[in-house]
Amino acid sequence: MSLQIRTVYVILAFMIGFGPEGLAAPNNKQLNIGTGQEFDTLNQLVSSASASHYLAHMTNRSLIVPNADWKWECQLCVEIPTLQNGMVKTIEEGGQKKMVVSWKIKPEAVWSDGTPVTGKDIQFSWEVGTDLKVSVGERDYYDRIESITPDPIDPKAFSMKYKKARYDYYQLSSFFVLPSHIEGPIYNKHKAQLGAYEKNSAFVVDPTRLGLSNGPYMYKEVKLGSHVTLVKNPKWYGKAAAIETVIVKVIPNTQTLEANLVSGTIDMIGELGLTFDQAIALDKRLKKQPELAKKYKVGFEESLIYEHVELNLDNPILADLRVRKALMHALDRQKLVDALFEGKQKVTHTHVHPRDVYFSDAVTKYEPNLAKAASLLDEAGWKLGSPGSPVYREKDGKRLSLTIMTTAGNKTRELVEVFIQEQFKKVGVELNINNVPPRVLFGETTPKRQFTGLAMFAQTSTPENPPISTMHSSQIPSKENGYGGQNYGGWRNKRNDEILDTVFTEFDLEKRKVLMAEQQRIYSDDVPHFPLYMRADVSVVPTNLKGYRMTGHLTQSTHWIQDWKLE
């Protein structure tokens, strides 16, 4: 445990005895949310900060999003287009199978200045999203669309023509809808100049302007790096929000964040605040301190981010499946999560979240079994007991030695590394630790495949999304492809590639589930990675806050802020 963490625990212990008494519970007049991360730009088309998305979820609505139950639900749209309801049609153009999807926006949906949200707004957003002169963070969502045509009669209706017929046409949660009546003139004025639109967007220069919001709240005051004040959108057409004013306060130091909570300066800490260690410590304190437990509750929600160990499969040692399987058997992951996370972050056997419709439990699970691990290593020719190396295995005079890399300074990962090192040692495998700063790991080491053995980091999956970028063999970074792709370990499996190639064109959910179950089975059989555990989102909220739910996925809790109520 680092000196800093220990110090914090001592301080927290101090706080237990001396916390202020009788702080009034927050009420619906104002809710102060603390966040540890800074927001960048409020134009979500170009933003890459989670904190900015956290805010935008309160002010702007997408056509469609996955809800807290991981089911896709319409927000701006009236009905989810499907083949069954006739709103989706596949067509063939120039030998290419394409699709046309008809959408309809809720009649009551308006911007905060009362202007209706129309098909023109969607068309304009797509035009900006595909403009190469604008730095769009997730252009993939816009690039899939060939054209958007507003209905000439009904301004609320429009159709989207997709370049390829794919089942995931409805996954548009990251498609940010811009108010064309405000952003249109700005864009037209600046579109000729590289990067000029995003610097002059009203979301950047005048974020409190009426008409930018189409969600339950709108910005009242924005101070970059400090706080954002949101008030109810008077033109909000959905369920009325209960809380009058929401203030999101940036407090980058997580210890201060907690002190602010205890002192009553903030009422809650959302998903972008406390570290997992802090949340665990606070949760324990709440159990011991009934007075404190009356005020706050700590929530844990399994997230889409999974920690794993990527294996460089070009390494001759790791290229041997028997070695990979042996190492999995040597690793007691349950013991790991129990010891380090008190079981609040769960072991995962695949890359798919248990709440994802594609999740399959019919995969090979590697239970800890040292005898089996030893036997597999023996079978692979790695023998113990050489006079020169009594502890570690050898083959042809070469020690079974591997190197693991991760982000230096990340205490949790460093502890996990030591744990793995100890476990591997029990079966005669030497594991050397060579950590580098995050920028080096993610900027050089993994994208250029410079790790020789193992690299531990997190990957993010998205609901109902096959892992093309991380697991397809075409996504192995190389000099030839400009180090593109995220299949850093270099996993090649023909059947896996076939599934990932075909699953997008399969429109039957049940058949896709079968395909993805097979993909997960192949993944678990082939052991290209060591999946470790699903990371948990954490938050601390006042006990009188009702209707609050963490989702675990990228559409954060604030997207349903209209359901929040302080009783």
Binding site: Q4, T7, F14, M15, F18, G19, P20, E38, D40, T41, V46, L132, S135, V136, G137, E138, D140, S174, L194, G195, K199, S201, V204, E221, K223, L224, G225, S226, H227, I247, K249, I251, P252, N253, Q255, T256, A259, N260, V262, S263, T265, P438, R439, V440, F442, G443, E444, T446, P447, Q459, T460, T462, N465, P467, S469, T470, G482, Y483, G484, G485
Partner: protein, 324 residues
Amino acid sequence: MAAFIARRLIQTVILILLLSFASYWMMGLMPGDPLDVACQANPHCTPENLEQMKKNLGLDQPIHVRYFQWLGDLMRGDLGYSRTYRLPVTEILGPRLVNTLYLSGISLLLSLIIAIPLGVYTSLRQNSKIDYTLNMFAFAGISVPSFWLALMLIITFAVKLNWLPASGTETIGGDGMMNSFEIALDRIRYLILPVTTLSLLTIASWVRYTRAKMLETMRNDYIRTARAKGLSESRVIYRHGLRNALIPVVTVVALGFSGLFSGAVITETVFAYQGAGKLIFDSIFANDYNVAMCSFIVTSLCVMLMNLVADVLYAYLDPRISYH
């Protein structure tokens, strides 16, 4: 003296140009642009997407091309836009620098007013109870990490006593509800804890430094001579002792003042104070060149100017020193 100052100012400009290129170049050498890191964590970020974003930010150009472009813009008075916030650098950095000036300026002035008299006082009462007591506090101040001290102050004055705000720069939403006097008072309330943190640490080291220099000076022959001449003790101490002891202290204080605009990253971060320190730190790690380079110019100019001030003060304090 005027020629010396003019020469130093010309050297300062040349040095800043050289250092600015070195800084720009070194920032460019850092592996892993934040775009790479963000893309790595996003399964929807395609290699083409990443390449296009780099192109839009000009990152596809060689470093020297980007540097001279930045320098050209700077010469025309265009500080550019922040890559992170998409806002003009002046809009972001200006208010932060002013906040940092308040924080660092007040704490440095407080430190100066408190530390030098205390240093002199303890040196004149060497090995007394008060000397031991103040030394103990000075050592504690030097040894205590700033983040720890800051947290303890927050817990005591914000969490336990609820006298002062735990963090921030000003009361949110207070602008329209307070008059100028109330706004000033509000800002002071938010400054008390961070100023105390910074001041205590600075006072501790400056007290020790002044004390040591005074002790050393008071042992010199010319002090004995001054006393032998029958000068009053206060004249001996302040005219002969302190004036000589202050020469090295001036360097330390001048360097302290040179950091007025560079901010105190840890203190600002712990107190979520809207200063320049954390912004500069973040801009370097975010490869936000325009913000980082602008901050760099301001801070290096401060260092060089304060060094020049220190050199000029040397000449004033010690007549033996002259500049040609």
